[in-house]
């Protein structure tokens, strides 16, 4: 399960993303490093503006100016992909890395039938003819659980419900049998009962095809039920990373602990929710030292001066005073 054992499929090393603005460069992502093993689901969780979607965007090479990669590297199957020419990256995208975005309606072309979109994607990436591509498209639609796929294949996206559209988007992402799928908030726009269907489907496909997934979401619940490992992001950095059960049950970073405690429980009613006072700092006002120190109840003078690093252990927290000494290690 841990990426350090098997050779990593995706390896992000010390990634730094900078936005050049009128008032000088803003560092949106700073020193982000993580690995994803083949077939693994890595959850990336954080609040709005933490940099989780930006990380995904950088991996699939869709970072728009003024954003740019200012440091570090991204390796897919041992090959560096962050400096590839646009045309080469375009061929890689879809073929080796698939993408699923939040809003299934905007990810699909409204004027093409679902079948046409699938066939186009398949023939673009794989050396097959139209008839074979259509056969594969049909099989994919069946695989993602679309009932009556034989008729549905010739329908347009507006004829599908939200959950069914997201299944079509998943089928599109799977077309060329990619090794990695970046799923950015794939269930956020869906109702809870449909959400469960989609996460179960993602999990099953991941297991059957050996596809790795980088699951970006703000919903700790979705991560807890879907991911193998989780990376918690705050103000452009990974503050904690580890196996999902460990992070959820025994968080080491005070931010992760605060985040977990602020989620209302379905099992019991408490008089008051634990809240983390204040808000995440803006990019132009990230405090020196640990970015979380102004909101942290345990901050020491050291935390205001020195940025804590992320140790290389399986369950690691970037904190000078982690909640528990890493006793299990």
């Amino acid at each position: 399960m841990t990426a350090s054992v098997a050779a990593p499929l995706l390896s992000v090393r010390d990634l730094r993303i900078v936005f050049d603005g009128r008032h000088g460069p803003l560092t949106a992502l700073d020193g982000v490093s993580f690995d994803i093993a083949p077939g693994e689901i890595l959850g990336v969780v954080g609040e709005s503006g933490a940099g989780k979607s930006l990380t995904g965007t950088a991996v699939i090479g869709l970072l728009d100016p003024p954003g740019r990669i200012a440091g570090g590297e991204i390796l897919l199957e041992g090959r560096r992909i962050d400096n590839l020419p646009a045309e080469e990256m375009r061929r890689l995208r879809g073929r080796r890395i698939g993408a699923i975005f939040q809003d299934p309606l905007t990810s699909l072309h409204p004027l093409l039938t679902v079948g046409d979109q699938l066939v186009e994607t398949i023939t673009t990436h794989l050396p097959v003819g139209k008839a074979e591509a259509r056969r594969r498209a049909l099989a994919l639609l069946k695989e993602v659980g679309i009932p009556a796929a034989e008729t549905r294949i010739d329908q347009y996206p507006h004829q599908f419900s939200g959950g069914m559209r997201q299944r079509v988007v998943i089928a599109l992402a799977l077309c060329a049998e990619p090794a990695l799928i970046i799923a950015d908030e794939p269930t956020t726009a869906l109702d809870v009962s449909i959400q469960a269907q989609i996460t179960t489907l993602l999990k099953r496909l991941c297991r059957e095809h050996g596809t790795a997934i980088m699951l970006v979401t703000h919903d700790m619940g979705v991560i807890a039920e879907t991911a193998d490992r989780v990376a918690v992001m705050y103000a452009g950095r990974i503050v904690e990373i580890g196996p999902v059960e460990e992070v959820v049950r025994r968080p080491h970073h005070p931010y992760t602990a605060g985040l977990m405690a602020s989620i209302p429980s379905v099992h019991a009613r408490h008089a008051r929710l634990n809240q983390i006072d204040g808000a995440m700092p803006r990019l132009n006002a990230i405090p020196p030292g640990c970015a979380f120190n102004p909101r942290c109840g345990r901050a020491l003078p050291l935390c205001r001066d020195e940025k804590p690093g992320l140790p290389p252990s399986a369950h690691a927290a970037a904190c000078h005073v982690p909640l528990k000494e890493l006793a299990h290690a």
Binding site: E47, E225, L259
Partner: protein, 339 residues
């Protein structure tokens, strides 16, 4: 809003502080094609039943929550309560209450919307946004006391007096929702209808806003009608709750009872399918199927196509909302899902 018959007002003392009474309320929308097109195509009229025969009452100082998936009619119901939508059938009535200033009258009702980015005028200063209801309702005699009141309101919701001079864009989502709450309280509201007030917010900010709402309820004796799709938020906030499916209540009762022992298979499935941080990587049973269209709801019990226990009777005979073990359930086999 609706005129109060004298009889209802005098009965106030006996019915322990009921402030809102909804009986048999329905809201239907005519979504047919234009008459001329229908004449040619011979299509029948199409009626969307957004809310069907819903009855409940809300007690003063408590929170009544309505839970359901998109399209179940929960927002239409909220709009009916604030008077933005007229019921096609049935009656919604507010009882007179003894208000904070000692006078007897109907409660003041305000709404808090889901998207704090869309519900505040970006060209107005926060001070003006909060002062508008005070000026409109002439709640303060002059400018100085209005400004004073705006400052007080901003402090009540956890902002500072100096924030009145800033524009909404300078505030984060959570702070904007605080401004919305201050604006609602500016009318001296007693009854707040909150339509998904925290679903656009991050969890740590959501916790701040929910804590604020609980504190305000305790301090000001507010009554909330809370609309949400998030069961854990609802559990945290509610005294009473109702689960809606395709425009009808399928289960309603005290929140603790419903959560401890859900009687309707839909409630049961909702509780089973929500992601749960406390049980990581549990194998869950996803609910099959999707919510049918409210234009052509299935015959019999509207949940039967998705229900694992549906019998022949469920396909023809729509169940009524009946009391069962401390709650009201509309199911032919109430409680069987728990087994």
């Amino acid at each position: 809003m609706l005129d109060q018959p004298a009889i209802l007002a005098s009965a106030e003392d006996k019915t322990d502080d009921v402030v809102l009474d909804v009986s048999g309320a329905s809201c239907r929308f005519d979504v047919s094609a234009p008459a001329l097109s229908r004449l040619f195509s011979k299509e029948p009229r199409r009626i969307l039943r957004a809310v069907e025969n819903v009855s409940f009452s809300v007690k003063r100082g408590t929170t009544f929550s309505i839970v359901g998936e998109s399209g179940c009619g929960k927002s239409t119901l909220a709009r009916m309560v604030v008077g933005l939508q007229h019921p096609t059938e049935g009656v919604l009535s507010f009882r007179d209450i003894r208000r904070a200033d000692g006078r007897l009258g109907p409660p003041r009702v305000q709404m808090i919307f889901q998207d704090p980015y869309a519900s505040l005028n970006p060209r107005w200063r926060v001070g003006d946004i909060v002062a508008e209801p005070i000026r409109e309702l002439k709640l303060r005699p002059d400018k100085a006391s209005t400004t004073e009141r705006v400052g007080d309101l901003l402090e009540i919701v956890g902002l500072s007096r100096s924030d009145a001079a800033r524009y909404p864009h300078a505030f984060s989502g959570g702070q904007r929702q605080r401004i919305s709450i201050a604006r609602a309280l500016a009318t001296e509201a007693d009854f707040l209808v909150c339509d998904e007030p925290t679903s656009a917010l991050d969890v740590s900010v959501q916790a701040q806003v929910l804590n604020l709402m609980v504190r305000l309820q305790r301090e000001l004796g507010l009554t909330y009608l809370f609309i949400s799709h998030n069961l854990s938020v609802v559990r945290h906030m509610s005294d009473q709750l109702a689960i809606m499916y395709l425009g009808r209540f399928v289960e309603a009762g005290p929140a603790e009872t419903v959560f401890a022992d859900p009687k309707h298979p839909y409630t049961r499935l909702l509780l089973d399918t929500i992601p749960d941080v406390e049980r990581p990587n549990r194998a869950r049973r996803p609910m099959s199927g999707e919510v049918p269209s409210p234009i052509a709801p299935p015959p019999g019990c509207s949940f039967h196509p998705r229900c694992g226990m549906a019998m022949d009777r469920c396909r023809v005979d729509p169940p009524e909302l009946r009391p069962h073990g401390g709650v009201a359930v509309s199911c032919h086999l109430p409680g069987a899902a728990a087994a």
